[in-house]
C-alpha cells in the first residue's frame, strides 16, 4: 500500500493530520510528472492540469485498495493546491529572473513552461485568491479546484460538498470578486 493510500485511509478514518502530509507528496509527484512531460513530449503540447492530476492519482494511490469518493476529494483538493503552488513559484522565479535575479537552474525549466499568463498576472491572482480565502474560504477553494485543478463545476461541487447550483453561484461571484480585487490592487499599486 502506497503512502498516499495510507494517508487517505487515515483521513477517512478521521485522522485529519493526514491531510497535511498529503499535500507535499502530491506536490512532489505533480512537479515530477510535469517536468517529465515537458521534456519528453513534443514542443507545443498542451499540459492538461486535469490529466496531470489524474495521472498523479493513479500513480500515488493504490487503486486496488478500496477508495471512496471522500478520499479522492482530499486528493484532488490537495492536487489543486499543489498545482497552484507549483505555478506560483514558477511565476515568482520568472519575475525574479526578469528583475535581474540570479538564474538558477531548477528542476523546472522556466522556458519550457509557457505560463498561460504573464507571471505578474498569475501572482496577482494568487494574491487576490489569498484575500478571498480570508473572506470566504469555500469560494477560494472552489477557484483553486476549478482553475488550478481543472475540475469541472460538478466535480468541484462534489469535492466541497455543495450543490452544483451553489457551486455555480459561488463561481460566478468569486470570479467577479477576484477580477475586481485584482483591478483594485493594480490601481492601488499604480497610484503609489
Amino acid at each position: 500500500m502506497s503512502d498516499v493510500t495510507q494517508i487517505l485511509q487515515q483521513i477517512e478514518s478521521g485522522n485529519l493530520t493526514g491531510a497535511e502530509r498529503l499535500l507535499p507528496l502530491v506536490y512532489d509527484e505533480l512537479r515530477r510528472l510535469a517536468a517529465q512531460r515537458l521534456t519528453n513530449e513534443k514542443p507545443g503540447q498542451t499540459l492538461q492540469a486535469t490529466a496531470l492530476v489524474h495521472e498523479a492519482y493513479v500513480r500515488l494511490v493504490d487503486v486496488e485498495a478500496p477508495q471512496n469518493w471522500d478520499s479522492r476529494q482530499h486528493f484532488f483538493s490537495a492536487a489543486a493546491e499543489a498545482m497552484r503552488r507549483i505555478l506560483v513559484e514558477n511565476a515568482r522565479r520568472k519575475r525574479t529572473l526578469r528583475a535581474g535575479g540570479d538564474y538558477q537552474r531548477q528542476e523546472f525549466i522556466e522556458d519550457e513552461i509557457a505560463l498561460p499568463s504573464p507571471p505578474d498576472e498569475l501572482l496577482a491572482l494568487d494574491e487576490a485568491l489569498e484575500h478571498l480565502n480570508a473572506k470566504d474560504s469555500r469560494k477560494a477553494k472552489l477557484v483553486e479546484l476549478r482553475y488550478f485543478g481543472g475540475l469541472t463545476i460538478a466535480e468541484a461541487a462534489d469535492c466541497l460538498g455543495v450543490s452544483v447550483a451553489t457551486a455555480e453561484r459561488d463561481w460566478t461571484y468569486a470570479k467577479a470578486w477576484l477580477r475586481r480585487q485584482i483591478a483594485d490592487d493594480e490601481s492601488t499599486s499604480d497610484g503609489i
Partner: protein, 1205 residues
C-alpha cells in the same frame, strides 16, 4: 441582501434596464452596496472568460495580450455554458473527445467552448492543433446545412470573405466541411462586440464614435473592393479588440447564405431588421451602398445609445426602415456636432443614390472629422462641410444645405414627402410579409428595442386558440382590419376566415382612420388563431358592461380593460391621471421619456425627456412636477414642465436625496417631496420631507425625522398637513406650516410603502410591506399578516379598519373619489437579509384589489402578470388606471362593485368540483372542473374572470356524458356508449374503476342517485315512443320500471330527502311530474304549457329547477324554478338560445347549466354558472368546450355540509 446575493440576482436580469431597475430597488438606501455590485457586474461582464479555462490548458498567450483573454462574441446571445444540457443537443456534430476540458472535435480542431450562438449557427472556441493557436470556428446551423444551396453559398461567401485581408476584418484561416456541415475557421478576437460596449457604456463620445466608424468603414471598403457586400452590418457584428478597441468586422456573407434557404416566394429578406437598408428590407437587389445605410444605423446608435429604427416587432422595424425618419440625433444627444449628424443622415438616406457612394469616401471624411475633433480648425470645419455636401446628386430636403443652421441645435431632417409617411408604400407591405416567413425559418425573434406603440388601444382584443387559419371576429361594420399592413382584408362585421402561411402577423384594426387595435398573431402550421375585435367606444359614460355571450339580464361585473399602453420591457412604470381625467402621465425611473397621453384617443400629447423618480400633475393640469432620482454623482433636481409646450421652467433646485414621491397641494401653492438615498453621496443620508413654493421653487421648509426612505406622501384636502409613509416603518402626520409631527399611526409594524388621504380628509390609509422574517416559502415572501392596508381616524389616531388579503408589499394605495372604495396594488419587495441559499426575497402578489372602506370586505381583485407600481381611480371614479412592469392598463370600473364573483365561484369549485361532459378534445368525455391552482397561469385576457383546470376523467373514444356524483362524492355515474348502446356506467371519482351498471339493448341515460347512494334512477328508451324511468341498484341488480306508462317518462331527479322523484312526462302534452320514489302517486307539479325537462332539486329540497320553452310557439328554452309544493313558479334566465341541463351547487347559491347560442349551429355550447338571483354570472367554458347531449347536465360534487345538513 448582501453584495453577493444582489450581484447574483442582478445577473439573472435579461436586460440592462431591468438590471438597473432591480439594483435601484435592491440597493435602495445603500449606495455603497450599489457601487460594489456594479463593480462586480462590470468585472463579470468585461472579462467573461476570466479563469474559465484551467490554467494549464490555456497556454495560448503568445498572441493575446496579458489579462485580455476575453473571447469575442460573435452572436448577440451571450456565451453559454457548454456543459448545459440545453447545449448538448446542439453540439451533436462534434466528435467525442477523451481529452478533459474539450467538448469534442470538429475536424482536426478540438473545441473547448461555445462562444455564442446566432440564427445561422454556433460559434465555437477551438484550437488549431498545427499552429497551436486559439481560433473561432463558425459552424452553419445543421438545419440550414441540410439545404445544399445554402451550404454552397455559405462556403462561397466564406471564400470571398477569406479573400479580404484587412486589419479591420476578421481574418479567415480556413474553410472546411465535415459530413456536409460547413464551417469557417477564423481569427479569435479577444474583446467584445460594439453592441455589448454600447449596452455597457451608453452613447460614445465623439472621438470614439469617429474612430470606430472610420475603422468599420475601412473594413467595409476593403470588402467592397473585393466585390463583397456584408449585408448584415450591425453593432453585434462589429468586434472591438480589448485594449485599443480595434475594430474587427465579422460575419461576412452569412446573411446572404440565408437567402437561399428554400424560399418559394419572391425575393426574401435576410439581415437584422433594425439595421437593414430600405432596399434590403424590400427584398430588392442590393449593392455596397446598402452596407453604408447600415453603417449609418450603427453610427446613430453610437451617438444615441439606441438604434434608429427600433420597433416592438420585426415587421415594425422594417416598416420604419422603409418609411420612417429616426428621431433627430440632436434631440437625444446634443453634444454631437452638426457635421457628424449630417454624415449620418446622408448615410441613412432612403435612396442609395442619395447616400455617400463608397465606404472609402466615408472613411476618408470620418478621418477628417477625427482630425478636426483632435485639433479643430476652420479649415477642417470647412472641408468637412464641403465634403459632406459634395457629391450629393439629389438634394435632400432639410439636409446638408441646412448645415449652417445646424449649430443652433436644430435637428436635421431628411423627412421624405409627407404622403409617404402617412401611407406606407406597397413595398413595405411586401417586406413585412416576407419577414413573417423569415422569422419562421431563421427564428429571428429578437426584440427590436423600444416599443413604438405609444397610443392606447381603445378596444378589447381577445385571442383564443382552438385549431394555418386566422379567424377574425369583428363586431363593428366600420372597422377595417389589415394584416401585416396589407390593405383592407376584412371590412364589416361578422367572422371571416383568412388562410395564412405559418408565421407571425400583425393584425391591425382601424376605425375612422384611427387604430383601435393591433396585435401580433402567430400562426402555426396546424393551429388556428381567433382574433376577436369588438369595438368599444371610449370613453363612453353609457358603456354597459355586459357579458359578450348574452344580450341581456346577465350583468357580468368584471373589470373590462378598455385601453392599454405598452412600454419598453423591463421598465417599471407608474401612471397618473390628470386632474380632469382627460389625460394620463406615464413615467418610469429608468432611462425612458415620460409621456402624456390624451385619453379619448390615446394620442400622445407630450414627451418629456428627463429622469423621473417621482412625478405629479399640478391641480390645474397645466404643469407636471417631477423629481429625479437616479443621477449617480449629481444632485437630484426638482423640475416643472409645461404640459402644453413640453418645456421645463427655469430654476430647478437640487438636493442630495432622490425624489421618491412628489405631491402638490390642492391650491397648487406648495409642492411636497419625499426623499431617500438612492444613489448619490454615500455619507449623507437624506430622508427628509421638503416643502417648496410651487411658483418660485424656493425651499420653504425641510422636515427631518424619518430614519429611512420616505416612500409615499399625501396632502390633506385642506392643505394643512401631509402624511408620510417610510421604510422606517412609520406612518406620520406632519403640520405643513410648522413641520412639526402631529401624529404617528400604528399599523402592521413593517415598512410602509404607500399612504393616502380619504377625500373628506378624515381618514388616512397606509400600505405595508412584508416582515422580512415572516412567511417565506422558498424565496417568495408570502406574508398576508403584514402586507395589509390600514385605515386610521385622523383625529383620534385610532385604527378603524384593516384590509387583509394581499400577500406582497402594497406599493400603492388610494381612495375612490367618493371615498367608499379603497384601491391597493401589490408587487415585488426586496426586503430583509438574503436567504441561506443566497437568493433574495420577493413577493409575488401581483394584484390590484378593491375594498369596501365601510366593512373592510374585499370587493374585487385584478390579477396582473408582474409587479404593480401604481393603481388609481379616475377623477370621475369610472376608470381604474394600473401600472405594472411594462404595461399600463385602463379598466372600466363595473357599475356596482359586488363581491367578486370570481373568487366566490372559485371557492365553490374548490369545495365541490363540477363535472361536465364535453367534446373539447374531439370526443365526448367527462371532465372535472377545478379552480386553477396556478394563478400565474391566468390568461391575461381573462383578467377578472375565473380560470379553471379541466381534467379528463374518461378519455375513451365512446361518448361519455351526463355525469352524476354519488352522494358521498366517491363515485360518478354516467352515460356511455362503450357497450355499443348507451348504458349507465360507474367510475371512481378519479376516473378509475370504470364498470358497467345497466345492460339492455335500449338506451339508458340521465342517471340520478338516491340520497343514500344505494340506487340509481335513469331513463330507459324502450322504443321511440315509450320511455320509462327505471331504478337499479348501484351494482346493476334489481332493475325496476317505476313509471310503466306508454309515454315518454324521462329525466328523473331524486329529491334530497329520497322520498320523491321529479321527472318529465310527455304524453298528451308535456308536464313536470313528481312521484314517490317507489313509483307510486304520480302527480303533476307544474301545469305550465310547454316542454318540461331536466328537473333539478335544490340541495335543501325546497325548489326544483327545470327547462321549458319560453312561450307556446317555441322561441328560447329557458330555466324556470318552482317550489316543491307546486307554488312560486318563475322564470330564471332570459338569454337568447337554449338553456338546459341545470344543476345546483351544494351550497344552493349557484347554478350551472348548458347554454347554446342560436347563432352557433350544431352541438357547440358553453357552461354558464350564475347565482340564483342572477347577480353574478360567468361562462366557465367558452366556445372551445361543448357540453354533451344525451344527458349532459353538469354536476357539482356534494360537500360535507350537503351530506349532513
Amino acid at each position: 441582501m448582501n453584495e453577493e446575493t444582489v450581484f447574483i440576482e442582478a445577473l439573472t436580469k435579461t436586460s440592462k434596464s431591468e438590471q438597473a431597475a432591480f439594483l435601484d430597488e435592491a440597493c435602495a438606501g445603500n449606495p455603497q452596496l450599489r457601487e460594489s455590485v456594479e463593480e462586480l457586474i462590470l468585472a463579470h461582464d468585461s472579462v467573461p472568460d476570466f479563469l474559465e479555462v484551467p490554467i494549464l490548458e490555456a497556454r495560448n498567450t503568445t498572441d493575446a495580450k496579458s489579462d485580455e483573454r476575453t473571447p469575442a462574441r460573435f452572436a448577440e446571445t451571450p456565451a453559454l455554458d457548454a456543459s448545459s444540457e440545453e447545449f448538448a443537443d446542439a453540439l451533436d456534430f462534434l466528435k467525442p473527445s477523451m481529452q478533459p476540458g474539450v467538448l469534442g472535435a470538429l475536424g482536426s480542431y478540438p473545441v473547448s467552448e461555445v462562444i455564442g450562438r446566432g440564427g445561422m449557427g454556433v460559434v465555437l472556441r477551438g484550437r488549431d492543433p498545427k499552429l497551436n493557436r486559439i481560433v473561432a470556428i463558425k459552424v452553419l446551423a445543421p438545419e440550414l446545412a441540410s439545404n445544399a444551396q445554402a451550404r454552397r453559398r455559405f462556403l462561397r461567401e466564406a471564400q470571398a470573405a477569406a479573400a479580404v485581408s484587412h486589419a479591420h476584418v476578421v481574418t479567415t484561416h480556413a474553410i472546411d466541411e465535415v459530413e456536409k456541415l460547413p464551417y469557417i475557421v477564423m481569427e479569435y478576437v479577444a474583446g467584445c462586440s460594439l453592441q455589448e460596449r454600447i449596452e455597457r457604456d451608453g452613447p460614445f463620445d465623439i472621438e470614439r464614435i469617429l474612430r470606430v466608424a472610420r475603422q468599420t468603414a475601412q473594413g467595409l471598403a476593403a470588402a467592397h473592393e473585393q466585390g463583397l457586400i456584408h449585408r448584415d452590418v450591425k453593432p453585434a457584428n462589429i468586434l472591438l479588440e480589448n485594449g485599443i478597441e480595434r475594430v474587427k468586422l465579422s460575419d461576412f456573407g452569412l446573411a446572404r447564405a440565408i437567402d437561399d434557404v428554400g424560399m418559394t416566394q419572391t425575393g426574401t429578406v435576410a439581415g437584422t431588421p433594425q439595421y437593414m437598408s430600405p432596399e434590403q428590407a424590400q427584398g430588392e437587389r442590393v449593392d455596397h451602398r446598402s452596407d453604408l445605410f447600415s453603417l449609418g444605423c450603427v453610427m446613430y446608435m453610437m451617438c444615441t445609445g439606441r438604434s434608429p429604427f427600433r420597433a416592438d416587432t420585426t415587421v415594425g422595424a422594417l416598416r420604419r426602415v422603409c418609411d420612417d425618419v429616426p428621431r433627430p440625433i440632436a434631440q437625444v444627444n446634443s453634444s454631437i456636432p452638426a457635421w457628424l449628424i449630417a454624415i449620418i443622415d446622408r448615410l441613412l438616406a432612403k435612396r442609395p443614390e442619395d447616400r455617400f457612394q463608397s465606404a472609402a469616401e466615408v472613411a476618408e471624411i470620418l478621418g477628417i472629422g477625427l482630425a478636426h475633433i483632435q485639433e479643430p480648425t476652420e479649415a477642417t470645419q470647412a472641408e468637412l462641410e464641403s465634403r459632406v455636401r459634395h457629391g450629393s446628386r439629389t438634394q435632400v430636403p432639410g439636409g446638408p444645405d441646412d448645415l449652417t443652421v445646424l449649430d443652433s441645435h436644430r435637428p436635421t431632417d431628411i423627412r421624405p414627402p409627407l404622403t409617404r409617411i402617412l401611407h406606407p408604400t406597397r413595398r413595405t407591405v411586401v417586406a413585412c410579409l416576407l419577414v413573417g416567413v423569415l422569422c419562421m425559418i431563421v427564428g429571428v425573434t429578437e426584440a427590436t428595442g423600444v416599443s413604438n406603440v405609444r397610443g392606447f388601444l381603445a378596444t378589447v382584443l381577445r385571442i383564443g386558440t382552438p385549431n394555418g387559419t386566422l379567424l377574425l371576429e369583428v363586431d363593428d361594420p366600420d372597422v377595417i382590419v389589415t394584416i401585416d399592413g396589407e390593405d383592407v382584408v376584412i371590412t364589416g362585421a361578422g367572422p371571416r376566415e383568412v388562410r395564412l402561411k405559418p408565421g407571425v402577423y400583425r393584425v391591425l384594426a382601424q376605425k375612422d382612420g384611427k387604430v383601435i387595435s393591433q396585435e401580433l398573431v402567430t400562426i402555426s402550421r396546424d393551429g388556428k388563431e381567433v382574433v376577436k375585435i369588438d369595438f368599444e367606444p371610449f370613453p363612453s359614460r353609457d358603456l354597459s358592461v355586459a357579458s359578450p355571450e348574452s344580450d341581456n339580464a346577465m350583468p357580468v361585473q368584471r373589470f373590462l380593460e378598455v385601453a392599454r399602453f405598452s412600454g419598453e420591457g423591463g421598465f417599471q412604470y407608474s401612471a397618473r391621471f390628470s386632474p380632469n381625467g382627460d389625460a394620463i402621465l406615464i413615467y418610469t425611473s429608468a432611462a425612458a421619456p415620460a409621456r402624456i397621453l390624451h385619453i379619448p384617443d390615446g394620442k400622445e400629447l407630450q414627451t418629456l425627456d428627463g429622469e423621473f423618480r417621482a412625478a405629479a400633475f399640478t391641480p390645474d393640469g397645466q404643469h407636471i412636477v417631477t423629481g429625479s432620482g437616479s443621477a449617480r454623482d449629481a444632485l437630484n433636481r426638482l423640475m416643472v414642465w409645461n404640459v402644453e409646450t413640453g418645456k421645463r421652467l427655469a430654476f430647478e433646485p437640487s438636493v442630495r436625496g432622490a425624489f421618491l414621491d412628489l405631491v402638490v397641494s390642492s391650491d397648487g401653492q406648495q409642492i411636497v417631496s419625499g426623499h431617500g438615498q438612492w444613489w448619490g453621496s454615500y455619507t449623507d443620508r437624506d430622508h427628509s420631507i421638503r416643502i417648496w413654493d410651487a411658483e418660485s421653487r424656493q425651499l420653504l421648509r425641510e422636515i427631518e425625522g424619518s430614519n429611512d426612505q420616505v416612500m409615499d406622501l399625501a396632502i390633506s384636502p385642506d392643505g394643512k398637513s401631509v402624511v408620510s409613509g417610510s421604510r422606517d416603518r412609520s406612518v406620520r402626520l406632519w403640520n405643513l406650516e410648522t413641520g412639526e409631527e402631529i401624529r404617528r399611526f400604528e399599523g402592521a409594524g413593517t415598512e410602509v410603502f404607500s399612504v393616502a388621504f380619504s377625500p373628506n380628509g378624515r381618514l388616512v390609509a397606509g400600505g405595508y410591506g412584508p416582515d422580512p422574517d415572516a412567511g417565506i416559502h422558498g424565496r417568495i415572501i408570502d406574508d398576508p399578516d403584514h402586507c395589509v392596508a390600514v385605515l386610521w381616524d385622523i383625529e383620534s389616531g385610532n385604527e378603524v379598519q384593516r384590509f387583509q388579503g394581499h400577500s406582497g408589499c402594497i406599493n400603492s394605495i388610494g381612495f375612490s373619489p367618493d371615498g367608499t372604495v379603497l384601491v391597493t396594488a401589490s408587487g415585488e419587495a426586496h426586503v430583509g437579509e438574503p436567504l441561506p441559499d443566497g437568493g433574495s426575497k420577493k413577493s409575488r402578489d401581483n394584484t390590484v384589489r378593491l375594498w369596501d372602506v365601510a366593512t373592510g370586505r374585499q370587493l374585487a381583485e385584478i390579477k396582473h402578470r408582474t409587479s404593480l407600481k401604481s393603481a388609481s381611480f379616475s377623477p370621475d371614479g369610472e376608470y381604474l388606471l394600473t401600472s405594472e412592469w411594462h404595461l399600463v392598463h385602463l379598466w372600466k370600473v363595473p357599475d356596482s362593485l359586488g363581491p367578486p364573483e370570481v373568487d366566490e365561484f372559485s371557492d365553490v369549485l374548490l369545495r365541490s368540483p363540477l363535472l361536465v361532459s364535453s367534446d373539447r378534445d374531439g370526443q365526448f368525455d367527462i371532465y372535472r372542473v377545478d379552480p386553477s391552482s396556478d394563478p400565474a397561469s391566468d390568461a391575461h385576457h381573462d383578467l377578472g374572470s375565473s380560470s379553471q383546470e379541466w381534467t379528463n376523467l374518461t378519455n375513451h373514444p365512446a361518448e361519455d356524458t351526463g355525469p352524476a356524483w354519488s352522494p358521498d362524492g366517491k363515485r360518478i355515474a354516467f352515460c356511455s356508449s362503450r357497450s355499443g348502446n348507451l348504458d349507465i356506467w360507474l367510475m371512481n371519482a378519479d376516473g378509475h374503476g370504470v364498470r358497467q351498471v345497466t345492460q339492455f339493448p335500449g338506451i339508458d341515460r340521465t342517471p340520478t342517485w338516491s340520497p343514500d347512494g344505494e340506487r340509481i334512477a335513469f331513463v330507459r328508451h324502450l322504443s321511440n315512443d315509450n320511455w320509462e324511468v327505471f331504478v337499479v341498484d348501484a351494482d346493476g341488480s334489481n332493475p325496476i320500471n317505476l313509471t310503466n306508462h306508454p309515454a315518454k317518462d324521462a329525466d328523473p331527479a331524486w329529491s334530497p330527502d329520497g322520498k320523491n322523484i321529479a321527472y318529465s312526462f310527455d304524453g298528451d302534452g308535456t308536464r313536470l311530474y313528481l312521484m314517490d320514489s317507489d313509483g307510486s302517486n304520480p302527480r303533476i307539479l307544474s301545469g305550465r304549457a310547454g316542454s318540461f325537462t331536466y328537473p333539478a332539486w335544490s340541495p335543501d329540497g325546497s325548489q326544483i329547477l327545470f327547462t321549458a320553452w319560453e312561450n307556446d310557439v317555441g322561441g328560447n328554452l329557458e330555466l324556470f324554478v318552482i317550489n316543491a309544493d307546486g307554488s312560486g313558479e318563475r322564470q330564471l334566465t332570459q338569454m337568447r338560445g337554449l338553456n338546459s341541463f341545470a344543476a345546483w351547487s351544494p351550497d344552493g347559491n349557484w347554478i350551472a347549466f348548458e347554454h347554446r347560442s342560436p347563432n352557433i349551429p350544431g352541438r357547440e355550447a358553453t357552461v354558464h354558472v350564475r347565482t340564483i338571483d342572477g347577480s353574478k354570472s360567468t361562462a366557465i367554458s367558452r366556445a372551445e368546450a361543448h357540453v354533451g347531449f344525451g344527458g349532459g347536465r353538469p354536476a357539482w360534487r356534494p360537500t360535507a355540509t350537503a351530506l349532513n345538513p
